[in-house]
Symmetry: C2
Subunit: 392 residues, 2 copies
């Protein structure tokens, strides 16, 4: 199965399958088909975080309906086993009624996160986990401009399935939902895509390159600094991280009515090249003190990239967002399934977005309609199960 | 830009870009990027019908709000020009506010169809086209089991954008909707995908290969017999065809609860191999007189493939369906965006599905919730516009 992304984006963290894929990029199609693209499931960290982004996601938040701690543990054990099997590329048992014969692993990753409600809900310690709630797993504060739908906000467990085949990603969520029957049910779900665009930074639905200043997943120092939970957090979370999800609607019709020069002012970067305003190359250092010909800041005070920049907020997060287009009656609904991983949401998303909300000029075109925060436990060893450290 | 499909599926009709793509499949990535995959827009037939299926569709049905024949003509002219530009791979004008710099053509095709309402609506001859309505453009009769939503049924103009990049396909619909402002608006929209699965027949969300017995788009005789409108129809439709669209919900949770052996009985084919029941190879001839060990028909009387077969209905249509997964609140909604092209719906879809509806055992798992029928005019020469023959 061909990856949708050129081999150069398969970085250090893609593991042996990724390196093999790179070596094969000019090789015979037969060899490609015989060596399915597999991301290792077991490891220090869960896959799907520092994994170079796959082309598609099928994301779902579940509400746990299990009534006992044992039932919840059982669910997590069944889910771990199923995720390990589906990501492996091994053929499924043909007697499985929900199997998908011939479905390629397509670099499938399945990443689980635990919401605040799993530790404590409406004052109840549902599963004896209240005392284990990580301090970094805060309840997100309200932000200026929030228009959150309760049905797409909160939830107990997040499942982020990503793959280079949309059907592989969807099948993972479908199978996990089936396995969960009686113990958990989907609260909300969202499919998303990235565009494959040669070797460049993918563009969002605003037409701008998105991710130029992102944390580099091939840089272990950056990941340890900004993403992985370490000695500052509970032992059960070391090697884990925290996910903030926002479903962000984009008013693309209104955006398309704005002149490109004004779009560039709002973003603070050039549309075609991706260069910072006043600059020439996408990856050049952003100099926020640069002035334009009239002596004003080249990057406006309310430009999106200025307010999001590390220099402004002191926060850096690993964004892993996907565009979505939902068809529907009377038109389409479109936007960004924003997913970002960080060592601590208090010093990550909350710090960054708290400064942007209400100030970022781009927010005239965006509406945050869904939200969630999840503690993402570390990876598991063979025979282990996701989250076991929190139950120990 | 890499195609999601192996070069072997780019058949005779893919044109020079397709053949070039095939020749390049083992070549250097740089050469690939320098030669974008383009499907020719101009020609005898509209592209997107006999074109080997791309990986993604963004489909929309528009209601025309223009009040005059001239305004409708103007819309069709603007849409034709925009579709020709977007499919060409030529860079868009950077001053265009809704441009998408760097967006690959990705074999984009845009296929337009005219619904009955364009010719006559509620007794009114809105655009002076009543007398030009092709006899084959019938109003679809009701079928057993129909659960059609009015908002997803009917409509004046269909736009089927297909590409190997979901963002390219969506951008086409987004741009056409913007260009239409004041003259047409989206009635309903649906995104869909096919799975890339090496060289094999793609599988639908039931896990079965889908399309084994489809009309071969590389066979001009089959296309002339079953798909293209010819001397039997009006001159303005020669080289055109007729599209029947059905939005078909699939109850995948219930399907996943059925044993594989029963799934195979319902479909009439083997799940893993795709072979006919009682047979061994996917592409072997279906022999409906074959008996099983107990002396019963190997393919049950109510099996899907028996009722759909040409031998049973005398009808053959060119199916070009896409799976869909719509996220949502409380779960996901999933199914098939069924699109089929035919010389005449009366001898095509109506004849075939009229026999299946109410009898096909698979219908216990499907719900037809959207529907439309459209006259798809022939292709246009450079300088022409889609549908001009009907206005002549």
């Amino acid at each position: 199965m061909m990856s949708m992304f050129p081999s150069s984006r398969r970085g250090f963290f893609a593991g042996s399958a990724g390196l093999l894929g790179a070596a094969m990029s000019g090789g015979a199609r037969q060899a490609r088909a015989a060596e399915p693209a597999v991301e290792p499931f077991h490891g220090l960290h869960q896959a799907g975080i520092a994994t170079p982004p796959q082309g598609f996601t099928s994301f779902a938040v579940f509400d746990v309906t299990a009534g006992t701690r044992d039932a919840l543990q059982g669910l997590l054990q069944r889910w771990t086993a199923a995720a390990a099997q589906m990501t492996s590329g091994d053929p499924p048992d043909p007697a499985d009624r929900d199997d998908a014969p011939g479905l390629p692993p397509a670099r499938l990753t399945v990443t689980f996160g635990f919401g605040p409600g799993l530790f404590e809900k409406e004052g109840r310690d549902r599963f004896g986990l209240r005392a284990r709630r990580p301090p970094a797993l805060i309840d997100l504060p309200p932000f200026a401009g929030d228009a959150l739908e309760p049905a797409r906000t909160g939830g107990d467990i997040s499942v982020q399935a990503c793959a280079d085949d949309p059907q592989t990603a969807f099948h993972a969520v479908r199978r996990l939902a089936r396995i969960a029957a009686g113990d958990a049910r989907i609260r909300w779900a969202q499919a998303g895509f990235l565009s494959p665009r040669g070797a460049g930074t993918p563009r969002n639905l605003l037409g701008f390159k998105d991710g130029t200043q992102n944390v580099n997943v091939a840089d272990p120092f950056a990941l340890d600094t900004f993403v992985w939970s370490g000695l500052e957090g509970p032992a059960a979370m070391r090697g884990g991280t925290y996910l903030v999800v926002r479903r962000i609607g984009l008013a693309v019709e209104r955006w398309d009515g704005v002149d490109v020069s004004e779009q560039e002012r709002i973003i603070g970067r050039r549309k075609v090249s991706g260069a910072p305003a006043g600059g020439e190359r996408e990856f050049e250092v952003e100099r926020f003190d640069r002035l334009d010909g009239a002596g004003r800041p080249a990057v406006a005070a309310d430009a999106h990239v200025r307010l999001a920049a590390y220099e402004a907020s002191g926060a850096r997060i690993l964004r892993r967002g996907y565009s979505y287009e939902d068809g529907g009656i009377g038109g389409y609904e479109t936007g960004l399934l924003f997913m970002a991983y960080q060592k601590d949401p208090r010093s990550g998303f909350v710090k960054m977005f708290g400064r942007m909300a209400g100030a970022d000029r781009l927010m005239r075109f965006t509406t945050h309609v869904g939200s969630g925060v999840f503690a993402v436990p570390p990876g598991v060893a063979a025979g282990g199960w996701v989250g076991e450290g929190l139950f120990g």
